[in-house]
């Protein structure tokens, strides 16, 4: 890789990392922890998930009933991940 004339200076990278971290931390300063502004839906789930879905586990009720479409997307992501692994390792697997 001699023809690669691009060099990375460590000091420049360090300054860049610190700068980006500070920029990303800037919005977090104004947040008030432990007091989310929107809290009407979670109380609704706690009150009504057992009567509406029949599941005693509220997390499962949300994941598989209220947000079932999202779970379908997660399963699809896993499927695509396996496809990618099969593509990368196909030459090793005779």
């Amino acid at each position: 890789m001699k023809d690669c004339s691009f060099t990375i200076r460590p000091r420049f990278v360090l300054v860049l990392v610190i700068l980006v971290t500070l920029i990303l931390l800037l919005p977090a300063v104004g947040l008030s922890f432990g007091d989310p502004s929107i809290s009407s839906t979670d109380q609704y789930y706690i009150d009504n998930s057992q009567t509406e879905t029949g599941a005693h586990n509220v997390v499962t009720a949300i994941v598989f009933d209220y947000r079932g479409f999202d779970t379908l997307g997660e399963a699809t992501v896993l499927f695509i991940a396996v496809l990618a692994v099969a593509m990368i390792f196909r030459r090793l697997h005779k």
Partner: protein
């Protein structure tokens, strides 16, 4: 390249319990913490233990080819989609919980409030749990099988030959480390 007799015996002892525990997590997903993703990952851990403990080419490739895991994974995803589409046909919408409190499969009347819970409740949620469990188990096992195929693996005979050579060398030098 093997794990030795102690590791193999421990793996043989542990694998059925790992499978049973994963199946418990999947089937009780609507009652206790856990669910399809977690239980499927636990079952895939058992498959990983088999792969580590035994000789990959001797044990797995002969009896369980990697295509069967891909088939299992696709079957899980298809079960999920078909259950969701059945809600569209039998009731009002995609993924509608039409089995809940219907008296049929997983449709026992639910005792509301604080109670131990009944396994055959919650409608399509256990079905979707099983679908996701099958899919995650197949997906993680297929990934493991694909990655194990990249390893250079020796057979039992080669390992024994190498071990005997090492023992002879140690005997010649007159001692062990």
């Amino acid at each position: 390249m093997t794990i030795g007799l102690i590791g193999r015996s421990a793996g043989r002892l542990l694998v059925p319990f790992i499978f049973i525990f994963g199946f418990y997590i999947v089937s009780h997903g609507h009652l206790t913490p856990g669910g399809g993703f977690q239980g499927g990952a636990v079952i895939a851990t058992g498959v990983a233990l088999i792969l580590v403990c035994y000789y990959y080419r001797e044990c797995m490739e002969k009896f369980i080819p990697v295509t069967s895991f891909k088939l299992v994974e696709s079957a899980g995803l298809m079960l999920f989609i078909c259950t969701a589409l059945a809600g569209l046909v039998a009731a009002s919408g995609f993924l509608f919980n039409w089995l809940n409190a219907s008296g049929g499969l997983f449709g026992n009347p639910v005792a509301y409030g604080i109670n131990p819970g009944d396994l055959f409740t919650a409608g399509i949620i256990p079905v979707l749990n099983f679908a996701i469990g099958i899919e995650v188990f197949g997906a993680l096992s297929a990934i493991l099988m694909f990655m194990f195929a990249g390893l250079k693996e020796t057979t039992q005979k080669e390992d024994d030959a190498q071990l005997s050579v090492q023992n002879m060398d140690a005997g010649k030098k007159g001692g062990r480390k």
